[in-house]
Symmetry: C2
Subunit: 319 residues, 2 copies
């Protein structure tokens, strides 16, 4: 099996709910994985990683973990699982890890996050975006609790988010993930995939903070659901202005999935509760800018952005 | 002095931050005042009322307090200082207190609160609305802390909020208040006065809950202030559709006053913190209905209403 060969080497930047989970799965499946950790470095070096999951939990007693990229090997695939609020660190984190043909895969929500990274890595290396459909939390140092879902929609970035099709490299990465049980949606149009994810993140991440609520409370309350659907309508209007028309069917399915999802505190709500900086710019600010560029009125998105910006600055401490 | 004569008898329904303060001032000035209290009845009967105030605090060791309207005398002026969420009780509270010529004065925020009361009391009695510009809190049983401001804009209700001018009765009540140091704005157009008050209550009461913030935090933060001004623009547009054009000058003054006001947790925020029902319908729901009747788009007001309705139902317990 290809994924058991050591030929494809992965770096995971950020060993939290996302990077810790997917990185541990890749290693568990036999991949050569190198983790960058910060606050949990000592713990992971000593105790490894623990994953709890309804699919069957597992422990990796020994992982290749680093406190600095300076000691990491160059990797074929650099998976960025940091929060977007830390992307300014990529300027120093990425170069030591890149071969001439590395791929950078950003497992991050929001809009426009690839643009800056594409500039950093240059034309000859690939940049991909991955939208994770997963409920998982970091519940302790090196300890990931996977709750529900796990698929990733991966698409390749091309300038101005032009649809880039499915490259061999994307197919190979998809197969590495699928070999360890992670369903991969191959997205030939990364921008469409990002807007579809934002349809969920904007209402449910944003309102979970404002309303101090879990997803089930929001989806089952008439006014909160209506406000969520109003926000979805605004986001669809922006996407449509960029020639990404999202079908009713996709929206209906997303709402239906949310109705039956287990009660979930979103990652943004957890960030807020722990007074960590929230990803307001990538998830709300950049879509709002995109709306203004095209003259699309999005007053409820704007109100949510204004509220979250206040909360991020007044009530969060640091990251 | 007229207010020292016992001829004008006041009932105060609700002995809290508003009713407790103004009622105590009236009694301190020599008026014949009868208080209805609920949870604080025993304490007030034994210890009276205490008012702390930068204008000079005072204690009334003995007040005429009642646990039920059945034991109260009929009064010339019935001051309703309940929260609007309790106005359904007025059907039973008011009739025992009314003479053939009583005036009911509603010291309440919001829109349309007089309509139901006017039906209750009949054509021959007057209904007035009072908009209180005051920062005060109830800090313990029978204990009111007055922080800043105290004026009241009083206007008389006529059917459909037609401007009603200044009646002799309104003038007499104004003089009773002024005799005890409460500045009274005589409003010949109650609806205009209500919209002007809503210009403040809608952004600052509403957002103080959503943003967990005091007035000074909101007015001095760029996004929160912009959102407040966006809400103000929407409220002005509704008022204008009802032929109440609010001048720029009035808005600028209100914002300037809020900039210099002492840091203040609004009454709605205190209600939310104490898990008491918030006055969402009177302050947000009724203006939103008025907007829809005239086809005025008010998306940010609607979003705020949707958010507060959720919070009122999910996170408040009872009143």
């Amino acid at each position: 099996m290809e994924h058991l060969s050591p030929s494809r080497r992965y770096a995971i930047l950020g060993t939290g709910a996302i990077g810790g989970y997917y990185g541990a799965c890749l290693q568990q499946g036999g991949c050569d994985v190198h983790f960058l950790a910060r606050s949990d470095y000592d713990h992971i070096r000593t105790h490894g990683l623990q994953v709890d999951s309804p699919d069957g939990g597992f422990t990796l007693p020994s992982v290749q973990v680093y406190a600095s990229v300076d000691h990491m090997p160059r990797c074929d695939v650099v998976v960025v699982a940091l929060k977007t609020t830390q992307n300014h660190f990529l300027e120093t984190l990425l170069p030591p890890l890149l071969t001439a043909e590395s791929t950078v895969l950003l497992l991050q929500n929001g809009l426009d996050v690839e643009v800056h990274v594409a500039d950093l890595v240059g034309d000859r290396r690939r940049v991909m975006g991955g939208l994770c459909f997963i409920c998982s939390n970091k519940v302790g140092p090196g300890h990931i609790q996977h709750l529900d879902y796990k698929s990733i929609a991966i698409g390749e970035y091309a300038q101005n988010y032009a649809p880039a099709g499915i490259s061999d490299e994307l197919e190979s990465i998809a197969q590495d993930f699928e070999a360890v049980g992670i369903p991969i949606i191959r997205a030939d149009d990364l921008l469409r995939a990002r807007w579809k994810k934002l349809l969920w993140n904007i209402p449910f991440n944003g309102l979970s903070v404002i309303l101090n609520a879990t997803t089930d409370q929001m989806i089952h309350h008439p006014e909160a659901r209506q406000l969520s659907e109003d926000l979805i309508d605004e986001v669809r209007a922006i996407a449509a202005a960029y020639d990404r028309v999202i079908d009713d069917h996709d929206v209906d399915k997303m709402l239906a999935d949310t109705e039956t999802m287990k009660p979930y505190r979103t990652s943004m709500k957890l960030d807020f509760e722990h007074q960590r900086e929230m990803e307001v710019d990538a998830i709300f600010g950049n879509p709002l800018k995109a709306a203004k560029l095209k003259g699309i009125p999005t007053p409820k998105l704007e109100a949510l952005y204004q509220q979250l910006t206040f909360l991020n600055q007044i009530h969060s401490r640091s990251d």
